[in-house]
């Protein structure tokens, strides 16, 4: 087990290095930073001075080394937009995204648990079909449009909830609901199929024969085993949530990381994008590492 974890750690580290190289290369491809900083009246000497000041006169490997050093020291550069440190920018935005996405994941999990299990237990009935229909529709409808409709109906037309921004608990309702809808279809479909498989197994039949109530059989015996395959979906879910956060935060003007990225995109603010992508890459690798280790723990056949 230790060996497995060490190998996985090394692999994750190598992946991280590769990603940082790609980002570094793109940073250099994005245009000459000197031209962005230098005032329009700058002479050739001025430009050369700025170039030296930024260390851009050094060779590419040297520049990459400086880039790595800065990252490890938590120095992610300054935003081109407002000269703020990217580290502080991310620091103020990150908690908002974490609270939003954790609540959405929590809600999405509970709802998809209920929907998935109900659909599997009532296999082939109208309830099953209704859940399948919602899941298929949820995968096809653009979620950003759903968010716009939700704002129009509940915030503007009925005036029950605030349209956008962050503050009171009421501000959470619409963003959390729409963000959870991103992951709902995947989870419900996965849970339904894995639940169907488990419900057909011998030990569930045994539990029934023992005379346990249907509620205990389904929610205790079957569900516990049906959830395990969902672990593999954790990586995909994380990717969906990140994508969702960027879109939902933009629509709801939520002051989180996703909106920061969307804004940086429009202003072509490379330092911000570079830092956030790097951050997400680290989290993605970490989540996958956790999933792999948990899986190896649950299923010993996976270990080396």
């Amino acid at each position: 087990m230790t060996r497995f974890i060490i190998i996985r750690l090394i692999q994750a580290f190598v992946t991280l290095i590769v990603i940082s190289m790609v980002i570094f290369a793109l940073a250099r491809a994005s245009g000459d930073p000197v031209m962005l900083i230098a005032p329009p009246m700058a002479t050739l000497e001025d430009i050369e001075a700025i170039r030296q000041h930024l260390g851009l006169d050094k060779s590419l490997p040297e520049q990459y080394w400086v880039f790595l050093q800065n990252i490890t020291q938590g120095d992610l550069g300054q935003s081109i937009q407002n000269r703020q440190d990217v580290t502080t920018l991310i620091g103020t935005r990150l908690p908002n995204t974490v609270t939003l996405s954790l609540s959405a994941i929590f809600l999405g999990l509970i709802v998809s648990l209920i929907l998935g299990v109900t659909a599997a237990c009532k296999f082939g009935t109208w309830m099953d079909n209704a859940v399948k229909f919602v899941a298929i529709l949820g995968q096809a409808l653009p979620s950003f449009w759903l968010a716009i409709v939700a704002i129009s109906v509940f915030a503007v037309l009925l005036g029950w909830l605030p349209t956008s921004g962050m503050g009171s608990p009421a501000h959470y309702v619409l963003p959390v609901l729409t963000l959870s809808f991103f992951m709902l279809p995947i989870f419900t479909r996965l849970l339904r199929s894995s639940m169907l498989e488990v419900l057909d197994s011998e030990y569930v039949k045994l539990a029934r024969i023992k005379g346990l109530s249907e509620r205990v059989v389904v929610w205790k015996h079957a569900l516990r085993n049906a959830i395990i395959p969902l672990l593999t979906a954790a990586g995909i879910t994380f990717a969906t949530i990140v994508t969702g956060a960027v879109i939902i935060e933009t629509v709801f003007a939520w002051p989180g990381l996703g909106r920061l990225m969307a804004e940086a995109m429009i202003r072509r603010d490379f330092p911000v994008i570079q830092a956030t992508v790097m951050l997400v890459a680290v989290v993605v690798l970490f989540v996958n590492l956790l999933v792999d280790i948990t899986y190896a723990y649950v299923d010993p056949r996976i270990r080396y």
Partner: protein, 290 residues
């Protein structure tokens, strides 16, 4: 009595459409037709502004007119014409992305499955990383680095969408690489390349076609999300996603600006998924668990 008969008929139609999805195929035919002949059939040029006809509602509304069947946006551009040109963007982006993803994914996946060992391990780790990484982030990164353009969108979407193909192809090749006919080809002295292309590839083509159909909807959806965020194809080129974004703040007064393009996205993605399911059941029922 009448009611029961009617219900039965509905179920019959439903069952028939499961066997042969008429509606999704029709929607796709319309999409392809509109995308190809957009220049000829659109009532107006997609970027023609008409400030006197701003925010005209669709024809079925009291103030609407048949001059603009689906109404106009806030600078008087015809929604229907823009949607028709948007179809061209959606279709061409998804065709190119799927073509690139298929070529790269099939190549890497087949190599990994055939070679096994270290090559396989390295390739699969890369594939895993690509599978877990949000495509939207790569698109934003490339959009900032290279500037938003048609090329950037295709590049960004292809950068990650090859991964499912590689994964699937590897699995398929692993299954058949030890079959007798492959061993026989090796014995008579076929080269590795010949074995892969002539003997293994024809056996995995079905799976490939299924995967390609199933990803049409997904690619269109991501392209729309990108355009919605302003990281897609830059304006004024009409794209369904950016049309929804345009109408975002006007949803109360002029819902038609964003409703019709989003319905188009939903309908096309939905039919793509249905078609994918149908082709899968026809060609490769083993994949049903997917």
């Amino acid at each position: 009595m009448e009611k029961a008969k009617f219900g039965k008929k509905l179920i019959q139609i439903w069952k028939y459409s499961r066997r042969f999805p008429v509606i999704p195929i029709a929607i796709f035919c319309v999409l392809v037709f509109v995308a190809i002949f957009a220049d000829v059939i659109t009532p107006y040029p997609p970027n023609e502004m008409s400030l006197t006809e701003r925010l005209t509602p669709p024809f079925f509304m009291p103030e609407g007119s048949t001059a603009h069947l689906l109404g106009t946006d806030n600078i008087g551009r015809d929604i229907l014409s823009r949607m028709m040109f948007g179809a061209r963007i959606s279709l061409s982006v998804s065709l190119m992305v799927i073509a690139i993803a298929t070529i790269i994914g099939t190549f890497l996946g087949m190599i990994a499955g055939y070679m096994r060992g270290r090559v396989d391990a390295v390739l699969m780790r890369v594939t895993d990383a690509a599978l877990a990484f949000p495509a939207l982030l790569i698109a934003l990164l490339l959009g900032v680095a290279l500037g938003p353009s048609f090329r950037t969108v295709v590049l960004a979407l292809s950068a990650l969408s090859w991964a499912p193909y590689a994964r699937m192809m590897r699995g398929e090749v692993l299954k058949i690489r030890d079959e007798d006919f492959v061993a026989q080809a090796r014995i008579i002295g076929s080269s590795q390349a010949r074995i892969l292309i002539k003997h293994i590839f024809p056996n995995v083509v079905n799976t490939l076609v299924v995967l390609m159909t199933m990803s049409v909807g997904l690619v269109i959806l991501i392209e729309a999300s990108l355009s919605f965020l302003g990281a897609g194809i830059p304006p004024p080129t009409p794209s369904w996603g950016s049309m929804v974004a345009d109408g975002r703040n006007l949803f109360q007064r002029a819902w038609w600006i964003s409703l019709f393009p989003s319905l188009a996205i939903g309908a096309v993605v939905l039919s793509g998924n249905f078609l994918g399911d149908w082709i899968r059941d026809k060609m490769d029922p083993r994949l049903r668990q997917l």
